[in-house]
């Protein structure tokens, strides 16, 4: 069998989905950490820009007095309204300021200044300290702003985006996985359905293989099985044909000499014979008939048991059928001096699903039995019977019953055939036999 190409296999597809998902998760993790890291990056272009501009503005002050510095503060406040701006002059006094908090002292000594610088260095709030005119004798100007305020738009948007992209990634992964399995499920269901379809010969039908993956392989295996089944069915049919042919030939070969015996006995019977010889000729004649029936019954029984006897059930009006059977047998019973009692009325359900030829065989065997075993009764009845639970065709005779040994034995095979056929057709049958006669019912349950 062909191996599935790796890339086309379901495993490969599923692995691709998993790997893609893992790749995106990694990407998200890396992206997130980069973004988070960037927020506190002091190399951030805006802080650098502020730092540069603050130093520039401080240095370019022409006359660093209260007036100029206040003007500079005003300009900056316009740009950064929430920034804290203040000027500590050369004497350590807080000379000017904007947005001042209570923790900014009025007087700055050297120790406090050093502490302040140490505390603010590379920290939040972002702080720039510059000397006006680049000269420490004018004191220093301070610009402070919370970093959060400095880049508010950028960071906030990115964290929202994070909250959106992670669940979206999960949903996408779940959806893709779901569709993948849905696809597999659909194909499996299709396969199951295709496997259940039966051809006219009762065999499954081959499936069109559409993909070369594991399911495709399963389909190919199934097709191979169907082919093998078909092959074996063909072999079986050939064997069956051979067996039937053999039995038919056997039957033919047995009957040909029987025909010759009968021919010679018949020719002999036309000569002038002594009573003893005449009796012998009659016995030969009867034996030929008996042999003929035995061969027929044995062959039928063999075929029936091997389930090889042709069986074609169809809804059949059995009342009409029974009437035609007794019509065919009427002359035989008439010749034997029987009184013939036919009462075939309508049944509750007169169409039975049976093979008419099998029904004929059943009634032939039953009538034959009456002729052979119940001749003394001189009576044959064929009736219909309706009860609450079943319909039945009834054959009656007034012979001495089954327990009484009739002059001609061998009813066994004939009735065994009746039994097999009745059961195969889903019917039932009952024999009530007594010293005064036998009643056989062929029963169809409703």
């Amino acid at each position: 069998m062909k191996r599935v190409k790796r890339l086309r296999s379901l495993t490969a597809k599923y692995m691709a989905i998993i790997l893609t998902a893992l790749f995106f998760i990694n990407l998200l993790v890396i992206g997130t950490s980069l973004l988070v890291f960037n927020v506190y990056d002091h190399k951030d272009p805006e802080t650098l820009q502020i730092e540069k501009a603050w130093h520039e503005d401080a240095r370019s002050l022409k006359n660093p007095g209260s007036e100029d510095i206040n003007r500079m503060f005003e300009e900056w406040q316009n740009r950064y309204p929430k920034a804290r701006l203040f000027w500590v002059d050369s004497k350590g006094r807080l000379a000017a300021g904007r947005n001042l908090a209570a923790d900014i002292p009025k007087h700055w000594n050297a120790a406090y200044t050093a502490n302040f610088i140490k505390a603010r260095y590379d920290n939040d709030p972002f702080t720039v300290i510059a000397f006006p005119k680049n000269d420490a004798s004018y004191g220093f100007v301070v610009f402070e702003i919370e970093r959060k305020l400095l880049q508010p738009a950028f960071t906030e948007v990115n964290t929202d985006f994070m909250y959106f992209i992670v669940p979206a990634g999960i949903v996408l992964f779940v959806t893709v996985s779901y569709l993948f399995f849905l696809g597999i499920r659909k194909r499996l269901l299709y396969l199951q359905h295709a496997m259940e379809i039966r051809d006219v010969d009762g065999l499954p039908v081959s499936i069109t293989v559409r993909k070369q993956d594991e399911i495709g392989q399963l389909e190919m295996a199934f097709n191979q099985m169907v082919d093998e089944l078909r092959e074996s069915r063909k072999r079986e049919e050939a064997e069956e044909q051979l067996r039937k042919e053999l039995i038919a030939n056997l039957s033919h070969d047995l009957r040909t000499p029987l025909t010759k015996i009968r021919a010679h006995a018949y020719t002999l019977g036309k000569e002038a014979l002594t009573p003893v010889a005449r009796q012998a000729v009659n016995t030969i004649e009867q034996s030929v008939s008996k042999m003929d029936r035995l061969i027929e019954n044995l062959i039928s029984y063999t075929l029936l048991n091997a389930k090889k006897l042709k069986y074609e059930p169809a809804p059949t009006d059995v009342v009409r059928l029974a009437r035609s059977f007794i019509a065919a047998w009427y002359p035989v019973f008439e010749k034997e001096g029987f009184s013939i009692d036919v009462q075939l009325d309508d049944l509750e359900k007169k169409h039975w699903n049976v093979d008419p030829l099998w029904m004929e065989r059943i009634f032939d065997n039953l009538f034959q039995n009456v002729i052979r075993h119940a001749k003394d009764g001189k009576y044959i009845g064929l009736k219909t019977k309706k009860t609450d639970s079943y319909d039945a065709l009834v054959v009656l005779d007034r012979g001495k019953g089954f327990r009484h040994k009739s002059s001609e034995k061998g009813a066994g095979v004939g009735l065994a055939i009746v039994d097999l056929m009745v059961k195969k057709m889903g019917l039932d049958w009952k024999i009530e036999s007594s010293e005064t006669g036998t009643i056989i019912k062929i029963i169809h349950y409703r």
């Binding site: 039937k244 039995i247 038919a248 039957s251 033919h252 070969d253 009957r255 040909t256 029987l258 025909t259 010759k260 015996i261 009968r262 021919a263 010679h264 018949y266 020719t267 030929v288 008939s289 003929d292 027929e296 062959i299 006897l309 042709k310 009409r320 009437r323 035609s324 007794i326 019509a327 065919a328 009427y330 002359p331 013939i340 009692d341 036919v342 009462q343 075939l344 309508d346 030829l357 064929l382």
Partner: protein, 222 residues
């Protein structure tokens, strides 16, 4: 009486059947195989065919004959008794008799077939009636009167004569004459039989020509 073409490869059986049918007044041509069948078909009234023959088998020969001569009755006489064989045989043949058969039965079936196919130019005597089967002329020979039947009555009576001695169920009769399925309880046939009896029977209340077989149907017996 009739010209019978008989095809049988078994010597003893062939000789016996030929002798028997000849004794009964038929003219029998007996062939050992199906090879020369064609030459004899134009001059015969009935064909009796065995199935197992050297060369072409009886089924093939029979089908060919029936195709070219649909009016020629064929009786299969075979030791093959399987249902399949009978079904195949009866798909073209008009009767199927299995070996070992009794010569009386063969003779009776031959007669039934000849009558069914109107091959006999027979003058039938049924009680007080004389019937010329070829032109279906019915004469009461006690009074010398000819009996005229209507179309349906004629068809029914002819159906009886073609199935002489057989018991016909009412379904069989109705479907044979009217050519459509019999519906349970239909009185048409009974009414026609009553009119037919009024014309044919001496005493229609005690019919002798068309017997009623209780619970089964009717019969016209020779």
């Amino acid at each position: 009486m009739a010209r019978v073409l008989y095809i049988e490869d078994e010597q003893e059986i062939g000789r016996w059947v030929t002798m028997n049918l000849t004794e009964r007044g038929h003219h029998v041509t007996w062939l050992r195989s199906g090879e020369e069948v064609e030459e004899h078909l134009a001059h015969c009234d009935l064909v009796i065919l065995d199935v197992m023959l050297p060369g072409l088998d009886g089924f093939s020969i029979g089908k060919r004959i029936k195709k070219e001569h649909p009016d020629l009755p064929i009786l299969m006489l075979s030791a093959r008794t399987a249902i399949e064989d009978k079904v195949e045989g009866l798909s073209f043949a008009d009767d199927y008799l299995t070996k070992p058969f009794h010569p009386d039965e063969l003779a009776a079936r031959v007669e039934v077939l000849l009558r069914r196919f109107n091959k006999n130019d027979e003058i039938l005597k049924l009680k007080h009636l004389t019937i010329h089967t070829k032109d279906m002329r019915i004469v009461n020979h006690e009074t010398g009167e000819e009996i005229l039947l209507t179309g349906k009555q004629y068809q029914i009576f002819q159906y009886f004569l073609r199935h002489l001695n057989q018991i016909l169920t009412k379904e069989q009769l109705y479907e044979g004459v009217w050519g459509e399925p019999y519906i349970e309880g239909d009185k048409t046939l009974m009414v026609h039989i009553r009119y037919l009896r009024e014309k044919l029977e001496k005493d229609p209340k005690n019919p002798e020509i068309i017997e009623t077989i209780r619970g089964i149907g009717y019969r016209v017996r020779k």
